[in-house]
Symmetry: C2
């Protein structure tokens, strides 16, 4: 079958299944998730075999070690998949929730009901656990989904799709509510992002270049972020212990995540007090510091330093590298962040109430924090239960996107025969 | 100046102004709206002169009477503009609202803060009151806006822009928070819909063809609806009085609005009871009925009838024409609506609790109603205070869009120095 016809068929099947999923009751959806979790545990050796096929092939094709690492499914990884589904089952069902139901002078009662978006497309690389997480979130939120994982994970993803579909069918839900694109043909992605008739939103997960390209070519709306250029700003009145804790954790707790700090801003008034002890911590981790002229002179004796270039203020290192800039207090920090940030997550460390308030209001990012590490920007940490992705856009969902981000609200009107005068 | 450079300049100016508008406090924004309202009243004769220039030219160019009607600014229309601004001023300020602030096990407190979208582009035709309504809503919601009205209203719109900008400046807000595109060059629209760097969302208002074309070519996201193919379904157990009231009002209260009923669905079980008395009402208004075979035989003696063709189920007449179809109860109605509706507004008339509940849940439209006229689907009737437009899309805003639709929610995190373990 031609790839366009194949994707059209998946789309039509998903649209049909989405109608049934939208009506499915909470108990049935939770039962399906429980069945899938059990089946994943039951089939764990089959899953490891399929994953070994993938990793063997990937190794032969010289896949980068980082990707190979994400592709590999361990015994613990399989257990985590199953637990993740049980966690999603334990979350409240967002669908059907009615809010703000109020009487109007005309006599009608107007409110909003939360409903599924319809069909969610997920485009991702390597990690087979995304298949299960995304399927779980979509099932719980009453959506159908089309999953397009990386070709390197195809054996494992096919098996997971089989397990998920069995679980759906066992409780009377349509198998087509979760479909995995069975071809590794790259053209499938191009078809998927233009399937406006059958896909309501796409969540692309992957490198910045991939997502930038998809965004340019897509006709289906996306929930996405390109990168995370996150800042910590240490204000004049920062508490030293909090500043050192937050600035060290935000950079060093994990380097490769999108909520890791990439630029540290320090108010001139406190720079000589904060930077030397902070650098002592970074030195243990051999963090390379790319400093503006002023901070460079303060960190004179630091062994791993360089003078920052303009491009450093716009770079997501995802590595033990940190840009540092001295700013003129709060206004300078907000100006720098609103210019250079990727609007993902930015934090202030301060003891000053007005400055905290202004930072919260004026920094235009998906997550804005006071006295907390940027590493907290995450669906689990925020209490969403799980996340399908993170959005840096302002429309629809912003920040970590959980079940609610896969829903929308329609208006409902309850009357007793009212007519418009 | 080349049109591209001109639009880029408007965009840059809007983006700068939006930063200041986002910080503006409630009192200042309300004061600006009050000043503009006074100035509109003060300058009413100037406004009528400018409008007369527009209408004279439009008449000379042979503008359609309907458009000419919408273009004409009466004394009452000017008063309504000023009142509209005062109403917007009296609405609660959505900006800065913090919701769901909850402690997490890590110690951080996570919530959401409502913030402006940034820069809103409005593309519309004829009606000069849209200039003032849209400016008012954008100012109140802390956004900057670029307004592109129809070339036929350019004199009036230029004067309105001057009045609005004076009002902004008089309270210390930037004039560029509300800019009117001063050229009538159509290329301006093409530039506007691709200005992703400077415009966050576009609200197009106009005919279906215009909006469909803009949607195809736009790179900036849109809040829009193409058309309103709205249904009333009369269920088996409908109360006759409510059914006649709602079905007559939904069609005949106004023909040209997007929330007017275009297709009436009647359950077979009640068709012979409902259709003849309802037709007696329609006959007074000379409504043409396009009937399926079954309803045609029931309405045998109706003078203005035709047999419906397949295309009738997908047509927005905006005229005294109504398609009628007999369906197999609730399931048939939901199937027809989810297939043929434009997902704008659909209503059921029923006394049955389960059927009301199922209709509300299963009909996939922006507004779903029980025992109320579809004509209620409107920002004022829903209590939003005013509307910038209506969205048939599922992402971001759905249904009538008021102040909240011009905002988004960012996450805020309040900590005491917490770090991620």
């Amino acid at each position: 079958m031609h790839i366009r016809d194949y994707m059209q068929q998946l789309g039509q099947q998903a649209r049909q299944a989405s109608r049934i999923m939208a009506k499915a009751n909470t108990h049935t959806k939770n039962q399906a998730l429980a069945h899938i979790a059990s089946a994943i545990r039951r089939d764990r050796s089959l899953l490891r075999q399929a994953n070994e096929q993938d990793t063997t092939q990937a190794r032969a094709e010289g896949l980068a070690p980082a990707l190979l690492d994400r592709l590999t499914l361990t015994e613990a990884g399989i257990a985590a998949m199953a637990e993740g589904l049980e966690q999603i089952a334990s979350l409240p069902d967002p669908i059907g929730e009615i809010t703000n139901l109020k009487f109007r002078p005309s006599g009608i009662q107007v409110g909003q009901m939360r409903v599924p978006l319809g069909v969610i497309g997920i485009i991702y690389e390597a990690r087979p656990n995304v298949t299960v997480d995304a399927a779980g979130l979509c099932v719980k939120s009453g959506n159908a989904t089309i999953l397009r994982g990386g070709s390197e994970a195809i054996h494992c993803n096919r098996l997971l799709a089989k397990i998920v579909q069995e679980g759906l069918v066992s409780v009377g839900l349509p198998a087509n509510a979760v479909q995995v694109v069975e071809t590794t043909d790259r053209a499938a992605v191009g078809e998927m992002i233009t399937l406006t008739e059958y896909i309501d939103v796409i969540v692309p997960r992957g490198g910045k270049e991939l997502i930038a390209r998809l965004t340019r070519e897509a006709k289906v709306p996306m929930i996405k972020h390109l990168d995370g250029i996150c800042h910590v700003y240490v204000d004049d009145t920062a508490d030293t212990v909090k500043a050192l804790d937050v600035a060290f954790n935000a950079k060093c707790q994990r380097y490769g995540t999108c909520n890791t700090m990439e630029t540290l801003l320090v108010s001139r008034a406190i720079a000589r007090q904060i930077l030397p002890p902070l650098a002592a911590h970074y030195e243990k981790e051999k963090v390379e510091l790319r400093c503006d002229v002023e901070s460079l002179s303060i960190l004179d004796s630091y062994p791993y330093k360089k003078q920052a270039e303009e491009a450093d203020w716009y770079t997501e290192y995802l590595a033990p590298i940190l840009a540092i800039r001295i700013v003129d207090g709060l206004d300078g920090a907000i100006e720098h962040i609103n210019t250079c940030s990727s609007h993902h997550t930015d934090a202030i460390v301060t003891e000053n109430y007005d400055n905290a308030t202004r930072f919260l209001r004026e920094v235009d990012s998906a997550s804005v924090m006071v006295n907390a590490s940027t590493r907290f920007a995450d669906g689990f940490e925020y209490g969403l239960g799980a996340e399908i992705g993170i959005s840096n856009d302002k429309l629809h969902a912003r920040g970590p996107v959980g079940l609610e981000g896969l829903t929308s609200q329609k208006y409902i009107v309850l009357g007793k025969g009212e007519i418009r005068k």
